[in-house]
């Protein structure tokens, strides 16, 4: 059930009404209701994978309890290790088993050896990358003393299975359980903000991302037949498509959470306004990058601390390769991660990779020229990485990148641009970027509209809603569902 679909609208309307009316004063019943509806939501996609989620909830609930009530650190560590091996092992099996088999077989063939290894028909459960990370952070944080275990199975399972975040994040940390255990009252301002966030997320997904996809998919289907300028244009559009698709989904998830009285962590902080790659990763898919920073990068950094700067570089590169590989079982994702890891190197050497620099604006409210150039450069570097990310394999990525350097005639791009009506989508992209630029300092989504005339802001909401309706039927599934 995708958010921008009629079944989800009907589902969520029912959930909202039941949650806030008959169940209003009973937190435990509300949580039980949320759990059942979350499992229903998950099973709606494919009921056969629902037992995996339920089983994971049961195992990790008891693991968490065992860690929390352990008599010694050694015992706690042992249970934590079991939890980590189980979680990572499950992920490796479902996501990477066939990839490793195929890679080893190719390696054997290169070495002139025969391989009898066979792949299996493994169906990857939707959202496994997301809920597994929640499970892992639960057991690790209990072991580290950052959180306590919960005795409430319903609350714990709701945290793991919470339907707005189940399939594509954000990946909230175990402190979210406290929100579930606490009673919730309907907050008008939060609910209105949630509605605004859902509207904006849907605009980004349906109007921007799906329209970019029409053009981008057409180009990728026939890379060899395109001019270099068309390939470059398509690459740029893919960057916007990725951002609008994923951040649009996150906005909808967070907005739905707000309507239910929850504060879900922010997942995007306007990454296309980043001044360098490090800044970009502090703004892109923040729940994943902070998770990996806490559980992968920091331990590695501590382990390699004796190697000085080289150790830091190594830790970053390994971390970024894990970021890449988290997205899927393909060498393109590994190279994508490696590419970004290498982009950190100049920043590490210059000592600026952890510096958080604020964007300075000129008299007309735009970034100063030097920072404009940094933003543009960062965007181009990210776009190049996303070509590798999008490709089916490394040779296709290479073909695409080489193709750009032909540049070729701009006439071909011009024709393609207007044939696919991408010029209309360009205006939507510009609109999206202007709105996000104006709102960048505001904690509320579209919060800047509060300072303008009410009629004007309602008119804008109506126009956005009509645009969503206009493009609704062309709508596609979310890119990050495949991860």
């Amino acid at each position: 059930m995708i958010f921008n679909s009629v079944p989800f609208v009907i589902f969520f309307t029912a959930v909202f009404l039941i949650y806030w009316f008959p169940l209003k004063n009973n937190t435990k019943l509300q949580n039980l209701f949320l759990l059942i509806t979350s499992w229903f939501f998950y099973g709606y996609a494919n009921w056969k994978i629902l037992p995996i989620l339920i089983f994971a909830c049961v195992i990790y609930f008891f693991l968490g309890k065992a860690i929390g009530t352990s008599k010694s650190e050694k015992e706690a560590s042992a249970y934590t290790t079991i939890g980590v091996i189980l979680g990572v092992g499950t992920l490796l099996y479902f996501k990477y088993f066939n990839f490793f088999i195929e890679s080893f077989s190719s390696l054997f063939e290169i070495c002139g050896l025969k391989s009898n290894l066979h792949t299996f028909n493994i169906i990857m459960p939707l959202g496994i990358s997301f809920f597994t990370f929640r499970l892992l952070s639960y057991v690790i944080d209990i072991n580290r003393g950052k959180t306590t275990y919960t005795d409430d199975f319903i609350a714990f399972s709701t945290y793991i299975s919470f339907f707005p975040c189940l399939l594509s994040g954000p990946i909230d940390r175990p402190k979210f359980i406290k929100q579930i255990e606490s009673s919730r009252t309907f907050d008008y301002d939060q609910a209105v903000d949630g509605c605004r966030q859902i509207l904006w997320g849907m605009f980004k997904k349906v109007v921007v991302a799906d329209n970019c996809a029409t053009y981008v998919d057409a180009v990728w289907e026939n890379i060899g037949g395109q001019s270099g300028s068309t390939l470059l244009l398509s690459a740029i559009l893919y960057s916007f498509q990725m951002y609008a698709d994923f951040s649009g989904y996150s906005d909808m998830a967070i907005g739905v959470g707000k309507l239910l009285g929850f504060k879900i962590s922010q997942n995007f902080n306007y990454p296309f306004f980043a001044l360098n790659v490090a800044d970009y990763w502090r703004r892109w898919h923040m729940s994943l990058t902070t998770w990996l920073t806490d559980y992968v990068f920091m331990p590695l950094n501590i382990k390699f601390r004796n190697l000085g700067t080289f150790g830091l570089i190594l830790a970053i590169i390994i971390n970024m390769v894990v970021v890449g590989m988290w997205h899927g079982a393909n060498w393109t994702f590994a190279v994508f991660g490696l590419y970004h890891g290498l982009l950190f190197v100049p920043l590490i050497i210059s000592g600026s990779f952890q510096k958080k620099v604020k964007i300075k604006t000129n008299k007309i409210g735009l970034p100063v020229f030097s920072q404009c150039c940094q933003i543009l450069l960062t965007f181009l570097l990210v776009t190049l990485g996303l070509i590798i990310f999008r490709a089916e394999n490394l040779s296709q990525a290479w073909e695409y990148i080489l193709g750009i350097w032909q540049l070729g005639t701009l006439r071909a791009s011009y024709r393609f641009f207007f044939q696919h009506d991408i010029w209309i989508t360009s205006w939507f992209i510009i609109f999206m970027m202007i709105v996000e630029w104006i709102n960048r300092e505001n904690k509320l989504v579209l919060g800047f509209l509060k300072s303008i005339n009410r009629a004007a802001s309602w008119m804008l909401y109506l126009i956005i809603a009509l645009l969503i309706y206009w493009y609704w039927y062309d709508s596609q599934s979310f890119i990050y569902f495949q991860f």
């Binding site: 806030w20 309907f186 008008y188 609910a191 209105v192 509605c195 009506d421 309602w458 909401y461 109506l462 809603a465 009509l466 309706y469 206009w470 493009y471 039927y473 062309d474």
Partner: protein, 302 residues
């Protein structure tokens, strides 16, 4: 909470009002979809019945001009849709019942009914796999033929596609004019893609659809004269149809004899008319083909 529900209600009301205004504006600007919104806006006495082959290949204004002095009540309206919307069955029959203007006529109705294997089959791998392919299409719920068709617009509207669909135009008389690129390489590519698609299908003669074709003929005969036609296609498509249903012409002939209606099978003309994709006659050749159909009707009347 009360304030929130009230504001949400106001917002949704504004939104739906905006949607209705937008859709009605699209309608009154004459913008329509290929599926046939314009065919649902009025009742007519004389009709062209069938799927997309007749929607594109049988041109109403040519029929009107050639049969202007005939005994038939004109103008004729093309009430053909496509193989998903209007294969022969109860839903299409019901739609035809509602479409026929039974009140305002002086002469006999003219009914050109285009038949082809795909309109009379059960396709088991895709189209009819989970039931009748037309069961979730708009013809099922459109009950009254008037303007605007709000329910159709709300349920079937793809404004983005309606506005940007530049290479097709659905005329007020129901003819779907397709302005295809007729460069030979392009057409060959289209034919290849179409054949790749159609070669995947497995079809069986559908007794259900034959039964409703008979019912349709009976219905139309009450209001005028019925002419069954089989539209020519490309040679590749003809070869496929002959392999899937070699006795098709005989089966239709039997029905024609049973109901004493003429059957003009132009399938032997296959390959003589240019098609856009092997399945649909190109508009310029459609004019020639429509004249051929009218000549056949005129000869038959004499």
């Amino acid at each position: 909470m009360k304030q929130f529900i009230i504001k949400l209600f106001i917002a949704l009301s504004l939104f739906f009002t905006g949607v209705v205004i937008m859709l009605v504006s699209l309608d009154y600007c004459g913008i329509s979809d290929d599926a046939g919104y314009k065919r649902l806006l009025s009742k007519n006495h004389s009709l062209i019945i069938g799927t997309s082959r007749s929607a594109q290949g049988v041109i109403p204004y040519i029929v009107d001009s050639m049969l202007i002095d005939s005994k038939y009540d004109l103008p004729i309206n093309n009430f053909s849709f496509n193989v998903s919307y209007s294969p022969f069955g109860e839903i299409y029959y019901d739609a035809i019942c509602r479409k026929i203007d039974t009140l305002n006529y002086n002469k006999k109705g003219l009914y050109i009914v285009a038949v082809d294997p795909f309109a009379l089959c059960k396709e088991v791998t895709d189209w009819d796999k989970d039931g009748l392919r037309e069961s979730d299409k708009p013809l099922r719920y459109v009950k009254f033929y008037h303007r605007p068709q709000m329910l159709y617009l709300l349920m079937n509207c793809r404004p983005h596609q309606w506005v940007i669909q530049k290479h097709t135009e659905l005329h007020d008389d129901g003819w779907l004019e397709v302005n295809a690129n007729m460069d030979s390489a392009h057409v060959e590519g289209n034919i290849r893609l179409k054949m790749q698609d159609y070669n995947k299908y497995i079809i069986n003669k559908s007794e259900y659809r034959f039964h409703w074709l008979e019912n349709t003929i009976e219905l139309l005969k009450r209001h005028g004269d019925v002419y069954l036609i089989r539209i020519p296609v490309s040679l590749q498509m003809l070869e496929l149809e002959n392999s899937l249903w070699p006795e098709f012409d005989n089966d239709i002939n039997n029905i024609a004899l049973q109901y004493s209606v003429p059957y003009f099978s132009f399938i032997k003309e296959s390959g003589k008319y240019r098609t856009t994709d092997g399945n649909h006659i190109y508009k310029e050749d459609g004019k020639k083909f429509t004249r051929l159909v009218c000549d056949s009707i005129i000869s038959y009347i004499r």
